[in-house]
């Protein structure tokens, strides 16, 4: 598989993690693409943390509404059955355990389920926005990211060395190389992307990977 096909596999694989009726918050970037890759018959409710439920597709050119943007500030739509609320209600939904899953990218994840996704000291300090609340509050935290950095640097580590977004909250890591579950015993490689071997995935992962029992 080429790079594009691998990323496509990643997105489709994340989309299989939901059941109909799940309330899901998708981060910006790779996670956003999951909405278009849901298996037939699966309908989920997407939350946008800036204040509404029922995120729809991007509007057609000419139909942009300045009052309807997503959490990345891009024009969006609200599906029939959706609803709007203020930021306090939005984060009550998030922290209060009413979001079934959040999918977000990461700079680093480690074998304890620690996540670093919001800053590189001295280089990139955009702020955490709603990420810390989402990772603490969502029932399931799914990291969807490329397995390594563009320079081949490891992102799945024994211990994150960047400032954390949250401690011990990640449940699942999905990359273009495979699907890794964070368990109390360590990282379990549940699935390997087509065409790859266990050894190839392990070579790009710092902590020991276990096979499912």
């Amino acid at each position: 598989m080429d790079k594009e096909a691998r990323m496509d596999w990643l997105v489709k694989r994340v989309a299989q993690e939901f059941k109909s009726g799940d309330v899901v918050n998708l981060g910006i970037g790779i996670p956003t693409k999951v909405a278009n890759a849901l298996p037939e018959g699966i309908e989920i409710i997407l939350q946008s943390e800036n204040g509404y439920m029922g995120v729809g597709p991007a509007p057609e050119a000419g139909n942009e509404d300045p009052d309807t943007v997503n959490a990345g500030g891009q024009y969006a739509t609200i599906l029939p059955g959706g609803c709007c609320f203020d930021s306090a209600t939005s984060f009550a939904i998030i922290r209060g355990g009413h979001v079934d899953a959040t999918v977000l990218g990461a700079l680093q994840v480690d074998e304890e389920g620690n996540l670093a996704s919001w800053m590189i000291p001295g280089k990139m300090v955009p702020g955490m926005g709603g990420a810390m609340d989402l990772v603490v509050g969502a029932r399931r935290v799914i990291v969807a990211m490329e397995h390594a950095t563009k320079n081949g640097g490891l992102k799945i580590l024994k211990k994150c060395d960047l400032p954390l977004t949250a401690a011990k909250q990640v449940n699942l890591i999905v990359t273009e190389m495979g699907v890794i579950e964070v368990t109390s015993k360590g990282l379990v490689l549940k699935e390997i992307a087509p065409g790859l071997t266990f050894e190839e995935v392990q070579a790009c992962t710092e902590p020991i990977l276990y096979l499912p029992e």
Partner: protein, 224 residues
């Protein structure tokens, strides 16, 4: 009694060194017209409390560009590079706060609470210097109330008594900030007579709002 005043009279109430809260989320639901007046007046040394500092070029971003702000409390500054530049250069004091924490700190101030307990930030640098409490076996951070001298808000509709209605995602921080400032000024698309908004439709009670400023028309493509 009407609360409607001109934008210049409204912004005249903001003085150097004040703390202001500004509604909006990356420009959506931000009171652009009020903000233009603030940076136009070259107000200095403000403490700004807002979700973000806008997108470079928009009205909120210009508060930073025009150096009206000496201290910032926000959740995300990535859409305005000038904020990051001033922060790195030591010209602007920046306190980054998780979004759900910031909104609850503001709500706590408006609701007369002494603080809130949140699990967000535990095990991260956000917990540094803060008191932790264990409630029923779970660890929480104590986050203190945040209030301001002035709140600048944006609403879609208001009656002259100050009752506010917001539209779509433009609601965001506006209703919460309306409760947490000594003086609350809202710019409004449509100002109607008292009685023309059904009490059930009011999203922010008029008693929270001191002044309304008529917003100049803009292109809304979908009134819904």
């Amino acid at each position: 009694m009407t609360k409607v005043i001109g934008v210049e009279d409204a912004i005249r109430k903001i003085e150097n060194g004040m703390t202001i809260m500004v509604g909006g989320f990356i420009g959506c639901g931000a009171p652009g017209q009020l903000l233009e007046e603030v940076y136009g007046k070259e107000v200095k040394d403000l403490t700004l409390i807002a979700n973000d500092t806008g997108i470079l070029g928009d009205a909120l971003s210009q508060l930073i560009v025009h150096r009206c702000v000496s201290k910032l409390i926000a959740t995300h500054i990535g859409t305005n590079k000038e904020t990051g530049r001033q922060m790195s250069a030591g010209e602007l004091e920046v306190n980054l706060v998780p979004q759900g924490t910031l909104v609850e700190q503001i709500r706590a101030a408006g609701a007369g609470l002494g603080g809130i307990l949140t699990p967000t930030g535990i095990g991260t640098i956000v917990e540094e210097g803060k008191q932790k409490l264990v409630i029923n076996g779970t660890e929480y951070l104590l986050e203190l109330p945040i209030r301001a001298n002035v709140a600048l808000l944006n609403a879609y509709k208001a009656d002259k008594a100050g009752n506010l209605v917001y539209r779509r995602a433009a609601r965001n921080f506006n209703p919460v900030m309306a409760m947490a400032a000594d003086l609350v000024i809202a710019q409004v698309d449509h100002i109607v007579e008292v009685g023309d908004i059904d009490p059930d439709e009011v999203m922010t009670p008029g008693i929270f709002v001191d002044y309304l400023v008529q917003k100049q028309p803009r292109g809304v493509t979908n009134l819904g």
